[in-house]
């Protein structure tokens, strides 16, 4: 009897928690299609009276949403590709190449994980501005082309690579470059996928750096565009929610489809 009551209470608690946690998600998914008649009234409707796709076009009129979306795709794509490349090379050197002071070099990579980015953002702003790269794609991606996190995770995977396989490759005449790209990288795809998902999520979701380093709406990322929507048209929540829904499409897809990869990298480091 006690157990049945406990089970009921647990279900009830979970139900309430699920409703609370999912409320913002629900309002993004449904509110993006709700007109001002449903949303811009008090109290706003919970269930829409009629659905419209007009919010998306209206949001794209309020800010250059298509261009900003392209900017985000470009910036997050370049950062992800570059971090994968630099991390693979660095991890390879740390594990498979002769290196004097290996411990110290690895220490540098670990140390980069500890520096809060906000504490160095002013000098970086000055550097990028001095180089004339403020408000440009280069300025948006340049500080993020390498990753202590990616190198750290790949080093862990590479260290577990079987020595026999490596020796076999060497006997077959594979040099470092060939061994790295033909054997090591294909066999470490799960780790690479996990890193790619993390890097893409954090690059796509960046806020502080794109906020200060861009000046024109044409160069802003979609995250900054969202906030302009919320400042520009506070009276129409439908526009804002439509923008949020668009900005969420790639990250929702990654979180839903890539969850097993995400769990691999969970405790390897905080990347948000």
């Amino acid at each position: 009897m006690n157990r049945v009551l406990g089970g009921l209470a647990a279900y009830l608690l979970l139900g309430v928690a699920a409703l609370t946690v999912l409320l913002p998600v629900y309002y993004v998914l449904v509110g993006a299609f709700m007109g001002p008649g449903d949303l811009a009234v008090y109290p706003p409707a919970v269930v829409p009276h009629h659905l419209t796709t007009g919010n998306f076009a209206a949001a794209a009129r309020a800010v250059p949403l298509a261009r900003q979306y392209l900017n985000s795709v470009l910036v997050a794509g370049v950062i992800t590709a570059a971090q994968l490349l630099t991390s693979v090379l660095a991890a390879y050197a740390l594990v498979f190449l002769p290196l004097r002071g290996r411990g110290a070099v690895f220490g540098v990579f670990l140390a980069t994980l500890m520096v809060p980015w906000e504490a160095v953002i002013i000098p970086n702003y000055l550097t990028v501005s001095d180089w004339g790269l403020a408000n440009s794609y280069f300025g948006l991606v340049l500080p993020f082309l390498a990753s202590g996190f990616g190198t750290f995770m790949l080093r862990q995977s590479f260290r577990q690579f079987p020595a026999e396989l490596r020796d076999a490759a060497r006997i077959d005449g594979a040099g470092h470059w060939r061994f790295l790209w033909r054997i090591l990288v294909p066999l470490n795809k799960p780790s690479l996928a996990a890193i790619a998902i993390y890097v893409f999520l954090s690059a796509w979701n960046q806020y502080f750096w794109p906020l200060i380093i861009t000046r024109t709406p044409q160069m802003q990322t979609v995250q900054i565009g969202l906030t302009s929507l919320s400042y520009a048209d506070a009276a129409d929540p439908g526009l804002i929610l439509a923008g949020v829904l668009l900005s969420l499409l790639p990250t929702l897809a990654l979180v839903v489809l890539g969850q097993r990869f995400i769990v691999r990298g969970l405790t390897a480091g905080a990347v948000r």
């Binding site: 998600v25 906000e118 160095v120 002013i122 490596r166 969850q259 769990v263």
Partner: protein, 299 residues
């Protein structure tokens, strides 16, 4: 671990540095040099455009620690950490304990609770901005159905920090649930099965087995959440801009406010605040490594 041969050709030694160079160059330019530069700027005055002028030593720091406003900023920062970390970790713990119990049909909820992980700080803040809207906000709308409210979520100095913290707790919940779920998954089912055979019910199992064994995961989460809270910026800038009446002005927001907000370029004073932030975050990291070093064995 595969080892390179003891007598490596010189070409291999060069190759190692070639492979390391891209990463090390980025770190040197955008982490190493700016670390030095932050200290340098914090010890110099600056003109209206932010260019450093003369050496002022510790003047920025003495001004900082001599102002009541700065202590208020530190207090707000500490409160924000408390208001996000404690509910965030405890809430996720309760959810995960319920999810990993033996209830039927709740597994699918784990993926649902992970959904906030897809939100950026900007998208979460913007959605909560819609929710908190005093005139047409969803939350006041819901309160009105319960014949409560309306509440001044962001415009009352006594509520604003709590409201921003609430959005942050929601944003972090997905990550926290995933971490603790992974932690529960790593507890061997032999242990929980044995306890069940000994007659332990759900509550007893959670209290005596699961939570103690989750210790390292909980500790990790507390430290990571604390560091995240200390660095939180987007939700504050979007929802309140540090207001009303500085009620949500944390250390990071103060850095932004002095350096970038409203055309301000007071890089010297802002850098002194950035150094304080650096010290606080590094202290948290040191605590993490100090404790984890003793608890976790790194292979």
């Amino acid at each position: 671990m595969p080892r390179p041969p003891s007598s490596s050709p010189p070409a291999e030694k060069v190759l190692a540095w070639v492979y390391l160079l891209p990463s090390l160059a980025v770190f040197a330019l955008f982490l190493g040099y700016p670390l030095y530069r932050t200290f340098y700027l914090s010890a110099h005055g600056n003109d209206l455009f932010g260019a450093p002028t003369r050496f002022v030593g510790l003047d920025h720091y003495t001004a900082l620690f001599g102002s009541a406003e700065f202590y208020r900023t530190l207090l707000t920062t500490a409160l924000f950490v408390l208001l996000t970390v404690v509910p965030g970790v405890l809430g996720a713990l309760v959810l995960v304990l319920l999810l990993e119990g033996r209830l039927r049909g709740v597994r699918v909820l784990r993926s649902a609770f992970a959904l906030p992980f897809a939100f950026s700080v900007a998208s979460a803040a913007v959605v909560f901005g819609v929710f908190y809207n005093p005139a047409t906000g969803v939350l006041n709308g819901l309160l009105s159905h319960l014949r409560l409210g309306p509440a001044a979520w962001l415009t009352d100095p006594h509520h604003a920090l709590v409201s921003v913290a609430l959005a942050t707790v929601w944003l972090n919940l997905g990550y926290n649930v995933l971490v603790l779920s992974a932690g529960v998954g790593s507890i061997g089912s032999e242990i929980t099965e044995a306890a069940r055979l000994d007659g332990a019910g759900g509550w007893r199992l959670a209290r005596s087995i699961t939570v103690p064994l989750l210790g390292p995961h909980l500790f990790f989460l507390v430290v990571v959440s604390t560091i995240n809270a200390l660095q939180s910026f987007g939700q504050i800038n979007i929802l309140t801009r540090g207001g009303p009446d500085h009620a949500t002005s944390t250390l990071v927001y103060d850095v932004y406010d002095k350096a970038f907000a409203n055309g301000s370029s007071d890089f010297g004073a802002a850098s002194a605040r950035a150094v304080v932030l650096l010290v606080v975050v590094l202290a948290c990291t040191a605590v993490q490594f100090g404790v984890l070093e003793r608890k976790v064995h790194y292979a």
